[in-house]
């Protein structure tokens, strides 16, 4: 019975499961390949120097993986709540629903981990080759196949998936079947206290770390603490995201509603009533901008502070190493938008049946995605700027940092494109397909 239910869930919702599956798979690949590289550099004498950087990038990829997987799972759970409400209303006990959720998550995570581990090996070879090619590693980093990286990567994948789905499912299961069926879309409490607590703690942690970093005397040590601070601030912004998204989204939507009244009103209403959905999409954008912004411009800031004209390999390779993480977060922007939009097929068909035109509907979705991406980008920029200002202060004693406008705009463009593609591709059928049948 349980397997039938689980299977029918997957079948009626293939896009959502595919998105979750890829998210976990890529996370495991990322963490696994980082682990393989660490194992590779740790036993070669002349590679020892590379170790610190590879280590840092492994920590970041692990953090990003857990962050993105949990965000994805919470979107997934939001999508599935209706199905669970229905199951509750036909007599499934909360225990049974929890079991169903756990089994589903386990199956998806196990399959994704297996494939992810398999892909980690060629991926690690690829990264090793790039590092050698750009002259970062003096010799080829040997990719030794040892069990530990695979175990760690699978554990990260499985634990993150299970924990996130259980936490996210808890509320859905606890609230009565009726509440869920009545489309708890009307989210009553936008900031439940556990979230508020985690968010405040992370915010405080981030501020303390920034303060600690500003008292360092040399850039290297400060940079590691700053990275910690940036991660803490990302967690804070994500936890408190609903409130921020609602406020910022409202502000940003005002001019849109004035420019394009009908489409703007729809975008605005959707952001205001579904801040959690919007926050789940803004969150990976924020992560991408915060991390990449910090990395890329930390290198530039260090350079300018040291008065160097040319870049030294060690400085620009850091972004190269983090590149795979960035790629992952960008893919997750796409995934998150696609997932949140694909849940709205019924709503889009209703809009069409009361006469929204094809271009008008596309505009409404584009506005909504743009505003959401803009909120994420603003948050990410603020976090990166806080980290970079601290670094600049350590290096030069002034509140200052160096950046390149084209690179920054490029970063925003990539996030925007990912958000728009995700939103438009996932709604194609609902926007253009038949309204009935």
């Amino acid at each position: 019975m349980m397997t039938t239910l689980a299977w029918s869930n997957v079948r009626t919702n293939p896009a959502a499961y595919a998105a979750t599956f890829t998210t976990i798979l890529l996370a495991v690949t990322l963490v696994g390949s980082s682990g393989l590289l660490i194992a590779g550099v740790s036993d070669g004498g002349e590679l020892e120097a590379v170790g610190a950087l590879v280590g840092t990038s492994a920590v970041i990829s692990a953090f990003v993986s857990v962050f993105v997987v949990s965000g994805m799972l919470s979107l997934h759970v939001m999508r599935q709540r209706r199905a669970w409400g229905l199951l509750r209303s036909v007599g499934l006990t909360p225990r049974q629903v929890r079991l169903l959720v756990t089994v589903e998550a386990l199956v998806v995570a196990a399959a994704a981990s297996a494939v992810g581990c398999a892909l980690a090996v060629p991926y690690a070879h690829g990264v090793a080759a790039v590092l050698r090619r750009v002259g970062f590693a003096p010799t080829d980093i040997p990719v030794a196949i040892t069990p530990v990286p695979f175990i760690v990567a699978s554990a990260v994948g499985m634990v993150a998936t299970l924990a996130a789905s259980r936490i996210a499912a808890r509320k859905a299961v606890r609230s009565g079947p009726l509440e869920v069926l009545r489309d708890s879309a009307a989210e009553q409490r936008i900031l439940p206290w556990p979230r508020a607590l985690v968010g405040t703690a992370a915010l405080a942690g981030g501020v303390v770390l920034l303060d600690l970093a500003s008292r360092q005397t040399e850039g290297g040590g400060a940079m590691e603490i700053i990275l910690g601070a940036v991660m803490a601030l990302c967690v804070a912004a994500s936890a408190l995201g609903t409130v921020v998204v609602r406020a910022l989204g409202y502000l940003l939507a005002a001019p849109v509603a004035w420019l394009d009244p009908a489409a703007g009103m729809l975008a605005r209403a959707s952001l205001a009533t579904q801040p959690r959905r919007a926050a789940s999409v803004a969150s990976p954008v924020m992560l991408t901008v915060a991390l990449m912004g910090t990395f890329v411009f930390a290198a530039a800031t260090t350079q300018t502070a040291a008065g160097q004209a040319t870049m030294e390999v060690g400085e620009w390779i850091a972004p190269a190493l983090v590149g795979s993480t960035a790629l992952y977060t960008v893919i997750s922007v796409l995934n998150a938008t696609a997932m949140s939009m694909s849940a709205r097929a019924q709503e889009l068909r209703l809009l069409r049946s009361v006469g929204i035109g094809p271009a008008q509907l596309t505009r409404a979705l584009v506005w909504e995605s743009l505003i959401t991406v803009a909120v994420g980008a603003l948050l990410g920029t603020a976090i990166a700027a806080a980290g970079l200002l601290t670094l600049g202060r350590v290096l030069t004693g002034r509140l200052w940092f160096d950046y390149s406008a084209p690179q920054y705009l490029g970063l925003l463009a990539v996030c925007t494109a990912a958000g728009l593609i995700g939103a438009l591709v996932s709604t194609r059928k609902a926007r253009r397909g038949p309204l009935v049948g």
């Binding site: 708890s184 009103m265 209403a269 205001a272 709503e347 009361v354 006469g355 929204i356 035109g357 008008q360």
Partner: protein, 246 residues
């Protein structure tokens, strides 16, 4: 009244067939249906569950494309229209009330009511919106979201929306199915008024013989075919007719 030209009707279906699925799961929901709804008339569509009533409404309102046949609304063959023209038709000339899921979840009752007007870049008349919502029994509920309304209340918002811009044709799928007698009568009176006062053409699916007596005529559907029709019927006549078709 004898009408031979399909353009004399507000809505005219000619030899319309609609099947769902393919192969062994194929269901013929409508089989070669030809029917016209005269301008300003109020027609009830009745028949057993699964007989194709909702499908008839969807095909007649341009929400669905039949496999064969043609559908004309206001003299235009809508099976040939492009998506943009269809959207304008739905927005300006047709009002629909579905059996379920009628409202955009993120919009309030009032916002849902004025949605087609807003989509057409027109200014809704606030007094009329308030009056309509009051007449469907939703005074004071203007700012509620669909999740805060009962199923019947949601459907009444959809009725207000369908009436607001006085579209030429109004399709309602069991608009009184979820309502108590009093509220149901108010809704039926509104539909009657739409036909009498504003010359709108109303097509309503219903299972309730009493509701059907508000209409000028009743069509009976069985197994995807129109099997009978009555003009100005009494409750007893309808009940007898329904009893016989079972």
């Amino acid at each position: 009244m004898i009408m031979n030209d399909p353009d004399d009707y507000a809505v005219h279906l000619q030899d319309v067939s609609r099947t769902y699925g393919k192969g062994p799961t194929e269901v013929a929901a409508l089989r070669h249906v030809t029917v016209g709804f005269p301008r300003g008339s109020f027609t009830a569509v009745m028949g057993p569950s699964g007989s194709g009533k909702s499908t008839l409404l969807q095909c007649a309102s341009g929400l669905d494309r039949p496999q064969t046949g043609s559908v004309r609304i206001a003299g235009r063959d809508i099976t040939r229209l492009r998506e943009k023209e269809l959207a304008e038709l739905r927005r300006d000339h047709v009002g629909v009330v579905f059996q379920s899921f009628n409202l955009v979840p993120s919009l309030t009752a009032a916002q849902n009511t004025v949605l087609p007007t807003r989509l057409a870049r027109r200014r809704p008349d606030p007094a009329r919106v308030r009056d309509l919502l009051q007449r469907v029994g939703l005074a004071g509920r203007e700012r509620h979201r669909p999740a805060q309304l009962s199923g019947g209340q949601q459907q009444r918002v959809a009725i207000a929306r369908a009436l607001l811009s006085r579209p030429e044709v109004l399709f309602a799928d069991e608009p009184t199915g979820a309502l108590d007698r009093g509220t149901g009568h108010e809704v039926l009176a509104l539909l009657r008024e739409a036909a009498d006062t504003y010359g709108q053409t109303v097509v309503m699916v219903t299972h309730d013989p009493e509701a059907a007596t508000y209409a000028d005529g009743v069509l009976f559907l069985t197994d995807g075919r129109i099997v009978d029709s009555l003009r100005r019927p009494s409750v007893d006549q309808i009940a007898a007719r329904l009893g016989g078709s079972r």
